[in-house]
């Protein structure tokens, strides 16, 4: 089906009795206007705020790049970027590997997939705040199921709760993220495996290739665009993490789990330092946008991924 629309030039695909030029613009106009109102204007307002001194919710005066300089000289800002880097750098690769392994298992002759797949998918579809609550219960000091039956019994950590220790809290959050998002990777990759054509495998089987060779020479190359895009999506989402951290640690102990999202939130709604919080938002936003723009161009040309 896709091949039909893809091989035809899109202009030929559009039956156009009249109004060929303006019709598509009419169709996208409501979306574009809405996104301008709910995304572009708030963004521009953030940029405006980031150049102003604003204390206690009131914008006072234009101060140029002072907020940005303040932020770049602030150890807490760099700490939050470091926390996010560790969080993403550990969680996403593990989710990726486990997800790929799980997808390969699921792609064997597993029975009862119509029941198993929705069950496996549950963590991913849960509200992050409920996921946070769930692990608050499992890892609660002294009475939490995991704290008492595993961590304490085998004396794995010296603390009563993983979230009480500055060294462990971040890894506990990484663990929770892996629990929630591995199923997403797994089912995304499984859907990709299911969509692969059979022909190359038959040919390879005739040539006497073993399963390992098939995986590295057929499966992996054909799956690359999917792996890249899903990896990117997860990378972006993991960097934005807020809800689970908010309910599990609130950024603590100290600043051990303070991600940029948590820090921006504290700057705004606890310290009411809106100017600096806006500068932080702009920096994160620009970094994301630049990264995605470059990635989109590269992926489109090299990997045919979009």
């Amino acid at each position: 089906m896709t091949s039909v629309t893809d091989t035809l030039p899109a202009t030929a695909a559009a039956p156009a009795p009249r109004g060929r030029f303006w019709y598509p613009y009419l169709l996208i106009a409501p979306s574009m206007i809405t996104l301008t109102v709910v995304s572009l204007i708030p963004f521009l307002y953030t940029v405006y705020l980031s150049f102003h001194a604003a204390k206690f919710g009131r914008v006072t005066e234009f101060i140029g790049f002072d907020n940005y300089l303040q932020l770049l000289g602030d150890g807490r800002f760099w700490n939050s970027m470091g926390v996010a880097a560790i969080f993403v750098g550990i969680a996403v690769p593990i989710e990726f590997m486990l997800g790929l392994a799980g997808a390969l298992v699921l792609n064997q002759n597993v029975r009862g997939r119509s029941v198993l797949i929705p069950l496996l998918f549950m963590p991913t579809m849960m509200a992050p705040i409920v996921v946070g609550l769930l692990w608050k219960i499992m890892l609660a000091g002294s009475w939490g199921f995991l704290s008492y039956n595993v961590l304490e019994r085998f004396n794995l950590i010296g603390e009563t709760s993983a979230f009480a220790s500055p060294d462990l809290a971040l890894y506990a959050l990484i663990f929770v993220d892996i629990w929630q998002w591995t199923p997403f990777m797994m089912l995304a990759f499984f859907a990709g495996l299911q969509a692969l054509p059979l022909g190359p495998y038959r040919a390879a089987a005739v040539d006497g290739a073993n399963p390992l060779q098939m995986f590295f020479h057929i499966t992996l190359p054909m799956l690359t665009p999917l792996l890249v895009v899903i990896g990117l999506l997860r990378f972006i989402d993991a960097f934005k993490v807020f809800d689970t951290v908010y309910i599990l640690t609130g950024g603590g102990p100290g600043t051990a789990t303070e991600t940029p999202s948590i820090l921006a939130n504290k700057m705004t709604f606890e310290f009411w330092n809106i100017g600096e919080a806006s500068a932080l938002a702009v920096l994160v936003w620009l970094a994301f946008f630049a990264f995605c723009n470059v990635f989109y161009q590269v992926a489109k040309k090299r990997l045919n991924a979009f």
């Binding site: 613009y25 809405t34 709910v38 797949i117 409920v130 219960i137 972006i236 934005k240 994160v284």
Partner: protein, 278 residues
């Protein structure tokens, strides 16, 4: 069925089924544990060693209802329905246009749509808070509906575009030769074929809105209090109401669970291939 399935013996299939089932049991145990806490008396909850058997109680449910949490449930439902309906109405034509027509600066326009999804929600909540404060939109259904558009509209257009691409264009061309107008073609040819894709994508948007916490917490909270926002409110000065939290948490989970079971194929597709084939 792709590669190995036709070469693997039945017994091996059973082995991998076993592996998957064991994995599922381990992964889902925390959810089961939270479910039991809905009816677990407080004494049993904090007992050491862990108590497996207990006499069920309904006290947590009683407290939750006495505190009016069912209003949060209703609020969540109305809000998510409103925002999803709006996204479908606005986003469907755009998804169709991006899939079918050639436009100047099409790539840039599409990148704009993607770009709106890149920002961490916490970066958006700051300007929203101050703009809404000026426009008296804080703690209103309209305000939150608008805020939810930031993440759902772009997702909807992105995913539905790939569903549109899969439609055979010949039917539309035939209808055009019959002299049908564009709106007629859309209503009588495209829309019926696209219905499943629209439902699946809209359901995903509904779930994202249902699960959303930050916007609802910062921009709503009192008059418009959604279910996720009501959960942290059970952390009181007298202590954490764990049983009640479990009740609210499971209530938030059940609709999502039902939807995933009914629409599993579309959902996996919508979340993955939809996004990838973009």
């Amino acid at each position: 069925m792709a590669d190995d399935s036709n070469r693997i013996e039945g017994s091996k299939g059973l082995f991998w089924t076993g592996v998957t089932v064991v994995y599922a049991i381990i992964v889902l145990f925390p959810i089961f544990w939270m479910a039991t806490m809905m009816v677990k008396p407080n004494e049993a909850m904090f007992a050491r060693p862990t108590v497996w058997l207990f006499t069920p109680t309904l006290e947590h449910f009683e407290y939750v209802i006495a505190q009016g949490f069912h209003w949060s449930l209703l609020t969540s439902f109305v809000l998510c329905l409103m925002s999803t309906a709006l996204v479908v109405i606005i986003g469907t034509p755009a998804a169709y246009a991006f899939a079918r027509f050639e436009m100047r600066m099409k790539d840039d326009l599409f990148l704009f749509i993607l770009a709106t999804r890149m920002a961490p929600p916490v970066c958006l909540v700051i300007p929203f808070y101050f703009i809404f404060a000026k426009l008296n939109l804080l703690d209103t259904f309209l305000g939150l509906t608008l805020a939810y558009m930031t993440f759902n509209l772009s997702f909807y257009v992105w995913v539905l575009r790939s569903f549109c691409r899969d439609l055979p264009v010949e039917l539309e061309e035939a209808a055009a030769l019959e002299g049908w107008s564009r709106p007629q073609i859309f209503r009588r040819v495209v829309f019926p074929l696209l219905r499943n894709g629209i439902v699946a994508t809209a359901v995903l948007c509904f779930i994202f809105a249902w699960n959303e916490f930050l916007f609802a917490f910062m921009l709503g909270g009192k008059a418009v209090q959604t279910l996720p926002v009501s959960i942290p409110k059970l952390i009181t000065s007298q202590g954490v109401r764990w049983g009640e939290m479990a009740v609210v948490g499971m209530t938030a989970l059940l609709p999502v669970l039902a939807v995933v079971f009914v629409l599993q194929r579309h959902i996996v597709r919508g979340l993955t291939l939809g996004a990838v084939k973009g």
